[in-house]
Symmetry: C2
Subunit: 144 residues, 2 copies
């Protein structure tokens, strides 16, 4: 893995989603794979599970890290996370795509920086090491 290990981990909450979308495993897998494309990431493997009586989990193993989606149709809620390392991926674009794709009435996005505590004397110096805070939090307004 030659990508810069300092990464961006987007923690996305999707609220007020139509329940049938959240119970549609093929739709969710497809949305996840399209989201990977939007983030300029490469999907290596996908796995998913349909729960009874409802709910889906889907995981994508990326060359750049992972995407996960867990849904609760009965609560109109999906928990998404999109974690990418390297300098070219655009996980925020994938989050915006997911909000649109699931037509979420409300959403919340927290953006975390990963790996910023690496010791430069013991490894490659992450290029962004000196610039970002350890964690950034972005609260999104109600989505229309």
């Amino acid at each position: 893995m030659n990508l810069n290990p300092v990464g961006t981990h987007c923690i996305l909450e999707l609220y007020d989603v139509d329940p049938p979308l959240l119970d549609d495993e093929p739709f969710i897998r497809s949305a996840m794979e399209q989201a990977a494309g939007k983030s300029l990431s490469t999907v290596l493997k996908v796995t998913s599970h349909k729960f009874e009586p409802q709910g889906v989990t889907a995981l994508a193993l990326l060359a750049e890290s992972h995407i996960s989606i867990h849904t609760w149709p009965e609560n109109r809620y999906a928990a998404v996370d999109i974690f990418t390392c390297g300098e070219t991926a655009k996980p925020e674009q994938a989050c915006a795509f997911m909000v649109r794709q699931f037509k979420a009435g409300r959403h919340q996005l927290n953006v975390l920086r990963r790996g910023v505590g690496m010791d430069p004397e013991r490894g490659v110096v992450p290029i962004e090491e000196k610039s970002p805070p350890a964690k950034e939090s972005v609260l999104c307004p109600v989505h229309n």
Copy 2:
């Protein structure tokens, strides 16, 4: 999925880990499966990928959500996340296990609450809705 959707998402950084451990795919898969046990969670599916020249990603799909591990042996670093929903899982126990198992010289744990913004008028009222903050952050001391 009948578990309470309000969940706990542990974002764990492992630093100063011996590189061979971080390039050992069977060890990493085993650690992840054992960690699921420590968190009182049930593994439904596991997938992993060995990168060239080095690095491993492993994902576990749990009945309670997921565990992911991404490693950078060249940086002595692993990014772990353990996300569980429901009232019985103990993801913090899994994090403590991972720190021990990888003999991390340093680690950092951020604990996020997921799904706390659900609208009780549109779904099941999450039982912890009134108590926790939207996000808790716990910085751990240097591990000896």
